[in-house]
Structure formats: C-alpha cells, structure tokens
Symmetry: C2
Subunit: 688 residues, 2 copies
C-alpha cells in the first residue's frame, strides 16, 4: 500500500535544509584538528563528490543545449516529424546508454556499515565516534537484497534525481504557464465539453484502464509472470497515472500549422484539466484504505471517503488558487505598482509561487492550485499589469516552462537506462497499451456523442478521431509514476509508463501532420478570427428534426448557468478586480454608492470603449464551427461570406450593461431573440 500522495513534502524547503549534507560533514570533520590525514581524505572525497555533482548537472545542461540547437535546425528546415520533447528524449536515451555502459562502477567509496538498534525508528541518529558526536538523518529503507549494492555506480546515482523534484520544482512552472497562456476565448466557449472530457473522461478512463489492467494482472498470475503482489488499488492507481494526457507535440504542430482553434481548445483544455484531475484522483486512490483484514478489496465506506477526499482536495486547491489570484488582482489594481514593472513582476511571481506553498501548507495539491491561480491571473490580474510586466511575466513563465518541460523529457530518456529498478513485463506492457487505447476510446466517443446532444456545433467524427489519436502521455504521467517506485508493482508501472510516453510522443507526435491531412482538418486558420457563419450551415442546423426541442432545453439550461456566471463576472468581479468592465456605480444597487465609487477605478469611465475590445476575449463565441468542416474542403472554409454581426452592433455603442457586452461578444452568430422577453443574444439558441 502506497502512502497518501497528497501528504508529500514540498521539496524546496527540504532542499534548502537538507542541502550540503556532505559539506556539513566536511566542515565538521575539518573543525576537529586531531587527525590531519583523515581530514585530508574527507576533503578529497568531498571534492570528488562535488565535481561529480557538477558534472551530472552539466550533463543535463549539455543535453538541453543540444536539444535547443537541434530543434532550431529542425525549425529552420521546417522538419515536423519530431518535436523538441521527442528529441530531448532521444538525446537523453543516448546519454543514458553512455552513462550505463560507459562509466566504470565506482562502488564502495563509502561502504555502509550496519549497526543494530532498538525497535523504534528515529528520523535523527546521534553517533558517537571516538568521543565526538555526529548527526545522521534517515534517508529511507533498503530492501535486504540491495544492501550490498546501494552505491553500485556513483554516476548513475548522481544523475538520478529525487522524484519530488519533478513534482515540486519542474511541474509548477509548466502547469502555471498552461493556465496563464490559456487562450481564454476558445477555452471558455468550449468550457462545458472540456470539463466533461476532463472530469468524466478521466474518471472513466481511469476505471476502465484500472479494471483492464487488473484482468491483465490476473492473467499474469495464472501464467506465472508475476513475482510479487499487485493489488486492485495498484491497478486503479496505474489507471489514474496514465489517464493524464499531455498532447504537447500535437499542440505544437497545431500551433505551427494554425490548425482549427476549437479542436486546439478542446485538446489543450482537456489535457490541462485532466492533469489536475489525475493528480487528485491518484491521491484519492491512495487515500482509499479499507478497514479490516482484506485491505485491498472493495469497501463502500472507504470508497466514499475517497470520493470525499477527491472533491475536498480538488475544490480546496481550486479555491486556494483562485483566492491568491484575486488577491494579486486587488493588490495590482489598488496600488500604482504598474509604474515599476520590476516590482510588479516580482510581486506577481511571488504571489503565484505562494499559491503553491499555501496549498501545500493547507494539505491541498499545490500543482492544481497553481493551475487555477494561473487562470485567475490571466483573467483578472493580467489586465492590471503594465504593458512591460505583461510581456515580462509571459516571457518569464515561458522560459521556465520551456526549460522544465525539456528537462523532464530528457530525464525520461536518461531514466530508461539509468534508473536501476526497472521491471519490464511484456504482458503488462502490451496489456497497458491496449488498455489505454480502449480507455481513451471508451471516453472520447461516448462522451462526444452525449456532448453532441447538447452542443449546437457538433464535435465531428474527424475531431473525435483526432482527439482519440492525440491522447499522448507526457510529463505528468511520468511525474506521477516516479513518485513512488518503492514496491514491485510501482516499479513495473513506472517502467511501463516510460515506454508509453516514449511510444506516444514519438509515434503520435510524428504522425500528427499526416493525420491532420488524412482527417481533413483545416489548417492555416487565424486564431483570432472565427469562421463566419455561412448560409448552408444554418440550413444544416435547422433541418435537425424532432429532438431539437429537448436539446434546446439542455442548451438553455447550460446557457442559464453560464449567463449567471458571466453577468456576475462582468458586472461585479471584473470592475472590482480590474480596471475594466462597467463602473460599479451602474451595476451595484444605489445604496452601495460609496463602496461602488471606492472600488471602481477612474480609468473605467475614461476607457470603456477600448476595454470593450479586450473584454470580448473572455466569452463564449460559439460560431458555426462543426457544420463548416468535415464535408467541405479547406479552401472552401476560408472563403465564406462576410461577417453579418459587426454592423448591427455599431449602433448600440453607448449602453454599458453586461447584456450589451454579452451581445457584442456573442455577436458572431447574431440572432436577436426579442420574442423571449430578453435582449440577450445566444448563439446556442439556434432555432428561435
């Protein structure tokens, strides 16, 4: 039984505390002037170890540098079959092979000795060596078989980082950047579908993969391929680990080719949110501890506890991220910090980092909190920043994200050869590949069918195939798998995850461009331009038949919920947290006049016109998408009729209610529905 993952330690403080252990040893042994020879030997050892440390880090820097140079060459020559992450893995593999087979095994420099002790385990030991006391700290348990080869190869040991590094240092910038660079407009207009794929889809995938793998494990037991325990909860954990998709290579190609923006939003949104879901899911599975003897069978109480843990952690982390985002927005709004971009950027960075720590300190998941903090920062704080800080923060996190991501992928390549506890089981690996294929198919197609019932703009078959195809696994699956490799089952899961990541990144990444053209998905789309509504698309939609009534109701309900949020956000949150939106004096009731005047920034009155433009990014703009693609060719899509929406809007520029803003935002599909007693224009309501 693995430990609850959510109770992990943040690595940084530990880093800072635990660092230089050897150095401290060196220092202390030097301060005793008794035996000069021993001192010299210790210093020599420390020096040697210090050089190896530097060399091991240099190895990674060299890897990254090589990757950068090669990827420049690839981009320069427009080679698209290999993404930088795939390349980083290849270089990692090569260096891994060299380290594994090319370096001598320098064993026994510090042969550990045994020392019997009472029954209780302590985290600190004081050892009396000829009158002097030395402090030792617990590092971990060693399985009895490995006592004699703990320090088998110094170099391999040096390049093997602690798993927590991935979780606490490398993932946060990646995830924050994902949230911060979210293309909000396309994300929000597909929000419902994205949430469905991320939550329902990941849960379905996790359970299907878990159960299939349990079958595989049973089979392996039957044929005698399994040499140690492998519980049902382990299978479910594997399902959670491997359900975190990371279509980084596919999205990079989408970006480069300007492929369809809504498909991009669906894939990107799903992968960002299902990372969060997978983390919390795996924590909940680990927290699933049935009482009684049979600790790995099904127990309803424990199951509901796990569900509770899932909901608690997820909503807690969400809140934490949102709250720090809101606080940052308020601070940047009410101080004139934007006169000093350096201070502003530093504050932004610190507040975003504190989200992570705050969540960890409260027992939530820092990575998830950081994701929602990023989204909140992009939605509110970004508007308050000075122009310089906007580009600074973007660029800062872009660089951090780039370095962290490529580091993880090159480490993965390296880990295939330098990780010393691999267990490759062909049956398990083949089973896992089949399971992830089935698991993805079992959520993409049924969910798309259900979503299409409610979506006006259907997720077409070729989109579904592309989503099915783009189910790559990447950094998050790796980080989740490497977190705990103490037991036999977890080691097998880790090795299998590594292979799945390799396979999907190389094969799927390389096959994206052919797949795009094979599936007739249009490329060369301007991401800021919606496909304008064409006349035949209306005909297709309006000829839908008898079940349009029910569907319409579904649409209206979701629209109602969304409308509520939107008008709350637009009327209250945006004016309070940013310099944009309508003045609070017009949206709040008159008895809050004083507060409203205090909270509304004077800029609002001045630059309402200008802000209106920016604002239009944040809202559903569900143009006629689905019907346009699929059957027609790319050129046909590009050359369609003119935008009918814009002209009708120009006449109403003076009013500043949320309705009008919504209207304008949603104007691309401009059906005004005055007959229902509301002037709100909803593109979802197509058969008025």
């Amino acid at each position: 039984m693995a430990l609850p993952l959510r109770r992990r330690l943040p690595v940084l403080p530990l880093l800072l505390l635990a660092a230089g252990g050897l150095r401290a040893a060196e220092r202390s042994s030097s301060s005793s002037s008794s035996s000069a020879m021993e001192e010299l030997a210790t210093e020599k050892e420390a020096e040697e170890s210090h050089r190896q440390d530097s060399v091991s880090l240099l190895t990674f820097i060299l890897l990254l540098t090589l990757t950068i140079l090669t990827i420049w060459l690839f981009k320069h020559r427009r080679v698209r079959f290999l993404h930088e992450t795939g390349l980083a893995m290849i270089y990692g593999l090569i260096v891994g092979v060299i380290l594994r087979y090319g370096t001598p095994s320098t064993s026994g420099r510090d042969k550990p000795i045994s020392c019997s002790q009472e029954d209780r385990l302590f985290t600190t030991l004081l050892v009396n060596v000829s009158g002097k006391f030395f402090e030792y700290t617990l590092k971990g348990e060693i399985s009895p078989g490995k006592i004699h080869n703990v320090e088998q190869n110094d170099m391999l040991r040096k390049v093997t980082f602690d798993p927590e590094v991935f979780f606490n240092i490398l993932l946060p910038p990646i995830i924050f950047h994902a949230g911060y660079s979210l293309k909000k407009r396309h994300f929000f207009r597909n929000l419902g579908s994205i949430l469905a794929y991320a939550f329902l889809g990941t849960a379905v995938s996790c359970f299907i993969i878990g159960n299939l793998m349990y079958g595989v494990v049973k089979l392996m037991k039957l044929v005698g391929q399994l040499s140690d325990k492998f519980y049902y909860t382990d299978c479910l954990l594997f399902g959670a680990i491997i359900s975190a998709t990371d279509p980084v290579t596919v999205l990079a190609i989408f970006n480069e080719l300007h492929a369809d923006v809504d498909l991009y939003a669906l894939l990107f949104g799903e992968s960002v949110l299902n990372d969060a879901v997978a983390i919390v899911l795996s924590s909940s599975i680990v927290a699933y501890q049935p009482t009684g003897e049979n600790t790995h069978a099904f127990d309803a109480a424990a199951f509901f506890k796990s569900v509770g843990v899932f909901l608690g952690i997820f909503s807690g982390s969400f809140m934490m991220g949102a709250v720090t985002g809101v606080v940052t927005a308020l601070v940047t709004k009410f101080t004139k910090l934007h006169c000093f971009p350096l201070l502003e950027t530093a504050l932004f960075f610190l507040m975003s980092w504190s989200t992570f720590l705050l969540a960890e300190a409260c027992g939530f998941t820092g990575v998830v909190a950081v994701l929602f903090c990023g989204i909140t920062q992009a939605h509110y704080t970004y508007n308050n920043l000075s122009v310089e800080s906007r580009s600074r923060t973007k660029q800062l996190f872009e660089v951090l994200h780039f370095l962290a991501e490529n580091f993880i992928f090159s480490y993965m390549g390296l880990a295939l050869f330098t990780f010393q506890k691999h267990i490759f089981s062909p049956v398990f690996i083949i089973g896992a590949f089949i399971a992830i294929f089935l698991g993805r198919a079992a959520h993409i197609y049924p969910l798309s069918f259900l979503l299409n019932l409610g979506r006006r703009h259907k997720i077409s078959w070729n989109f579904q195939h592309m989503m099915m195809f783009a189910g790559l696994r990447g950094a998050m699956a790796f980080a989740l798998a490497i977190r705990d490799t103490a037991t036999y089952s977890h080691q097998m899961m880790f090795s299998t995850t590594l292979l799945i990541v390799f396979f999907t990144v190389w094969i799927v990444g390389g096959g994206t461009t052919p797949m795009l053209s094979w599936l007739n998905i249009r490329v060369g789309v301007d991401p800021d331009q919606d496909p304008p509504p064409t006349n035949d698309s209306f005909q297709v939609l309006q000829g839908d038949g008898p079940d349009s009534e029910r569907r319409n109701r579904t649409q209206q309900e979701s629209a109602w919920l969304f409308r509520l949020w939107y008008s709350f956000d637009h009327n209250y949150l945006k004016p309070i947290l940013t310099h944009s939106g309508p003045p609070l004096t017009t949206t709040l009731p008159s008895w809050c006049g004083l507060i409203a005047r205090c909270l509304t920034s004077p800029q609002v009155y001045d630059n309402q016109e200008q802000l209106r433009e920016e604002d239009s990014d944040f809202i559903l703009n569900d143009g006629d998408l689905t019907v346009t693609y699929g059957d027609t060719t790319i050129t046909a899509n590009g050359s369609s009729g003119p935008h009918t929406a814009t002209t009708s809007l120009d006449g109403r520029r003076t009013k500043s209610s949320s309705e009008e803003a919504l209207e304008r935002d949603l104007g691309a599909a401009d059906h005004e529905v005055t007959s229902r007693g509301t002037r709100l224009v909803f593109p979802l309501e197509d058969n008025a």
Copy 2:
C-alpha cells in the same frame, strides 16, 4: 582551521539528490505493512513537518511581498532615506523577533538517540530496526554541549537555510546581473582605476583589517574577553570577508538622482570586482596551511602557495567565464537562433549557468566565473541576440537578481534573531568598526593619490570622500561569513559582519542624499552624455607644472596596453564573435582570405554605419571630468561649451580601421596628435 572554501559542493545537485529525505523515509516506512499504527504516526509527523516547511518558505515570500509593497509606497512618495534592502532587513528583524519569542519551543518530537560506533566516520549508516534496514546519511558534527537541544525550536530550525544556498543559488544571479548590466563605456574608461581599487585596494584593506583585528583579539585575550581560540588566519579571513563592499543602496540613489556617471562607474566597478577578489582571497587564506607544529604562524612557503592559489583560481575562473561567453557568442552568431527568441533566451540562460557548474567542476570559483561570463555576454553575445531576446535576458536576470538580493537581505534581518549561535563581543565589534573604517581609508586615499598621478582626470577629493563613505557591506560579506560558522571565532565573525551590514546599509544608505549635496557632487547627469570639455579645464590641466613629463609617460604606457587590447578586440574578436566591427577581410592578412570570409557575417558589410554607433559604447572616453567638478558648482558644469569633436570626424567616415573607430570613440576630447607619427587620438595625452 577552516576548510578550503573553494572545495565546496555546489548545492543544486545535492539539493536534487538529498531532497525529500524525510519523504523517502515516509515512503519506505509506508511500504512495510506490518505496524499500521507506527505508519500512521510517521505519516502524521511527515505531514506536520511538510506544513512547517511550507509555512517557513511562505514566511519569506510574505516578507518579500511586504517589502515590495512598502518599497513601492516609498518610491511613490519619493522617500529616499531607506532602500529596499534596508527595508527587507527591518521586516526580517521583526519576523525574526516574532519567531524567536512568539513561537513555542516544540522540542523533542524526534529525540535523537545515541549509538556507539567504531573509530571510523562514515557518510552512510545502515541501521537494523527489527529486521528491516534503514539508510541514514551524515549531517554534521554536534558539539557535546548541544546534544540535548539540537531540535530546540523546530520553527527556528526551519527558517535557517544551509549557508551553501546563499553561495550557490542566490549569489550567482546577483553577480551575473552585475556583469551583464555593466555600463561598459563608463566602466572601461575607468578600468585602470577600478582594477587598482578592486585588487590592490581589497588586498590592502584585507591585510590592514586582519592585522588590526589581530591586535583587538590580543587585547581581548589580555582583558579576558576571549573564551576560545582566535588565530591570526581567522583575523585575515575576517579581513577578506569584510573587504567585499556592496554599495547597493548608494548606487540605487545614484541611479535615481542621475549622479555623476564616473563616480558611479568607479563605485560599481570596484564593488563588482572586489566581490570576486574577496571570494578568491578568502579561499586562498583558508588554503594557507603552514606545515609543522605551529599551524597558525607565518610560513613563507605556505604564503606563496596561497598567493599561487589566489592567482590560479582567479585567472582560471576568469578564463572559464570568458570561454563560455565566447562560445555562446559563436553559437548565437553562426546559427540563426535569433529567429526563435525563446530558444535563444533558453540557450543563453543555460550557457551562463553552465559557466558556474563548469568552474565548480574544475575546482575554480563559480561565482567569479559567472561575473566574467556576464561581462563577456554583455560585450559580445548581446550584440548577436534578437531584439526580443535582449530585453528578455535583461529582464529575466533583473527579476532573479531583485528576488535574490531582497531574499538575502530579509534573511539577514531574520538571522539576527533566529541564528542560534551568535557571539556578540562589544570589544570585537567596536574594533571591527574602527578597522573597516581605517582599512577603507587606507586604500581609498593612498590609491587615489597614486592613481591621480597617472590619471589626467583626477579623482577629486569629494569623489574620494564619497567612495570612502560608500564602503557599505552587503550580500557578499554575509554569504562569506555564513559559509563557515562551526568554530567560536567564525561565529563571532559572523555576528559582527551582520551588525556591520545592518549599520552600513541603514546609516550610510540613509545618509547618501545629504552626503551627495554636502560634497557638492553633481546630480541630474544624463548617463549617455559626457561633460563636454570646457576651456578652463584645459587651462587647469596644462598649468600642471614640472612633473607632467613623467606622468605623461605613465599615461602613454597604460594607453599602449589598452590600445593593443582595443585594436585586437575591435579588429579580430568583435568581427569573429559578433555581427559588428570591420570585416575580417580588411583586418586579417590577405592569405587568410577564405577564413576571413567565412567568419565575417554578411551583415557587417551592410550595416557598418549603424554598428559604428553601437560600438562607441565599449571604449575609454575619458572626457574632462575631474577638473570640472569639485571647485565649480553643478549649474556651471551643466552649461559648458559645445562638443568640438563631432564635426571633425564626419569627414573621415569611409575608412574602417580600428584607429578610426578609436579616434571617433575617443573624440570627445579631440586633440589630434599628428606630430607623433600616429593618427590615433588620445585624450589621455593632454599636453602634446
């Protein structure tokens, strides 16, 4: 006897390896399913410890956030008596007091136990606890008196970082930024003086302070104030530690008030280089290990070995930094990486970081290498970067520098109360204050006198007083002092250094503005504009008298050396490493035609005109400075005659030799000395 500092371990690899020790313990104890109760207890403990870690880091983030907000307020209201670093220290002090006296002493959570062992010291222990093996690593020696209060207060322990963090994580970005943001023009035209202050000055200061402190220590022994050993080498080490000046607050005010640029260059250049000198000096003093019985007396062999070590480490680190800078310049020149600013920035960052690691791996000083890497990057690589990367790299390192610097200063405030081994000795502290005052006086005034013999533009008395006054101590002195606090003498040195930093940053920082006006140092200077030569300045100079002959020779010699370097740099290095400078085809002999064509970038032929402008930054432009200030008032300096140089240059725009460039660069004091058979124009040669 302290250990050789240069053999320290780089903290990062260790960080990554050592991190999560507790986490590993937690994991391993969980994997044993025997005693569920014990497991639960360990998990609870780990969770608690994890929260405390997060809270301690949050404390620092809160401190930095508070500092940022307050400093914004100060800048907003133009308060100048307190710099952000001084403020960070005050907040640190306050939090330190709260932590010290406000938190309960949570002792004995993990009472360490004793366990006797054979005579040899191991870095790894294997402990057998009821059949299972656990690995422990050595943390350090504990003095016998402190065995029972090792974990006296968890919170205080948590906020106490490992000293190596300061050296290996926080200093490199600060130092790199200093090198990278160097205002090259003003730096290079005062290079001789800066080098003299930094090398000679720091050495003089170190030895004077060391000897004075040895006197103080003798005195303390006489009056019975000293309770433990305090060797002569310790005194010298203190001299080296405290000789690293850091006039960050003064320079911030200079920047804000646009005070005199040459004084700025002198102060900034001195402080940047003397940091490097102080590090290497302290390493050499530690490496000074006389043979025989009396290990702390003077030994000529050991002394020369130390001098050799100093020269070796310094030149090695210098080379290392310069080489990686040059490699980066070549890479950025010969690949078209500038089409992808993200890749370029990432490469730049990685190469700069690898300098640090490379130097550490080779046994040199990473921080010093990083400084020269920064200077080389600014001199060559910066010209090859895309416009976006230029601002990106600047901003990235600016943010890192800002955060690291304020972290160090707020930590200093905290350390006054949370560091548990302070030894405050009034005699030593008063002695130290007198010693640093005398040490600084003993190098500023005599060196300035000597330099003035060789300088055409004298360092006037008020400049000398200002330099004397601006000898603040900061981050580097703190980092050097905290490196080794194992012995009594080092603890006393650390406490004293802390107080000196506090005093100088607050008092001197706050007194800068009054001092500037009291010393009549002009403010409001445009840093890119030289004070134009006035007629009376020439009169003052030419009326110098009989010793002008000798002085002139000195000037010519230094000019000759500089001229050699400049023409080499301009004719060969710049064209090879950057896209600027004259084409190599014109500067190299004709038989290297092919190589010259390969190495010269095609841009050179196109934009020679434009680059000429940029180029003029990098060269001595020793206008008439000294004579202008001091006696005359600020307004009188601002309104002097027109630039006579520019017109005479326009006629010679077609030639592209180094001579012409130098001529143009130095044109501000335009005496053409055709009678000496060279067309080079040297402002240093004033009495032709």
